[in-house]
Symmetry: none
Subunit: 145 residues, 2 copies
Amino acid sequence: MFKGQYIYSVDAKGRISIPAKLRKHVSPESNDTFIMTQGTEKCIDVYPLDQWNVLESKIHQLNLFNPDHARFSRILLQNAFDDTLDSQSRILIPQNLLAYAGITKDVLILGVSTKMELWNPSFYEIYLNSSEESFEQIAAKVITT
Amino acid sequence: MFKGQYIYSVDAKGRISIPAKLRKHVSPESNDTFIMTQGTEKCIDVYPLDQWNVLESKIHQLNLFNPDHARFSRILLQNAFDDTLDSQSRILIPQNLLAYAGITKDVLILGVSTKMELWNPSFYEIYLNSSEESFEQIAAKVITT
DNA sequence: TACTTTTTGGGTGATTGTGGGGAAAAGTGG
DNA sequence: CCACTTTTCCCCACAATCACCCAAAAAGTA
């Protein structure tokens, strides 16, 4: 389970180091491979390979002659991009994803359960302040047991 | 599983390079052979041989005395065209398919699960904006588990 | 403080995408 | 059947990008 927040930087080539603390939680069968794609918020989602495969097996069963299925597959897959760690434990982020998330130099890396998220730090600040409900109110709704 | 989007160009002879990242996901038994045909949208579908064979076996089971089955088979097959990669990893696209998809110079190559799609970039833009439903709504319908 | 681990920066050779020339093959008309 | 044109295929070459390696700076640890 990924957790924690880390302020890192993107270098001139668009590379980002994966924090050592997060790396420790990646299962070995992922083979240092990560799939990144556009998040539902203005951020980049990064899945280790084993987590991505769960999603991929569902997509594989769809019927691409069904218009809804095809549209879903196109949108989900069009911005998906995979890469493996280099010898310095970095991955390359495509320019279009960096542009989507508004990331230029500084990047906020969040560990969120089964995936990681890459944010422009000031966008995340705005996101945190954007809800009218308090953490307590949301927590009460979400955790019911 | 094919994924990602790539902006490439068609040269004067009607050839298109298959992106290296997509090539990596083509199974060896396809022998560098691809079958392209008219897509259900205004684009060109490109199947590696092994995936085409899956589709072909489905077509084989159709009843050609059923008018719908016959029409589907005719349209899909009349524009089907196969080619193998040349030494520069390119395939030749027939002029009638390029015309159908409105592709002249720039081409958007989409990895969509078991196949690839070739789009006129501006047509794809229109397609994305043509749905009244949001991605979340479609996703909820498609992924039910 | 000395040492290890982690993060960041950059250089270089290999791969990839694009364009085009020329030989072989196929089609066309006499 | 033969010249001629057109198309198809194979090869070479260039430019841009990417993958890989080396190394320094920074941070954490004993």
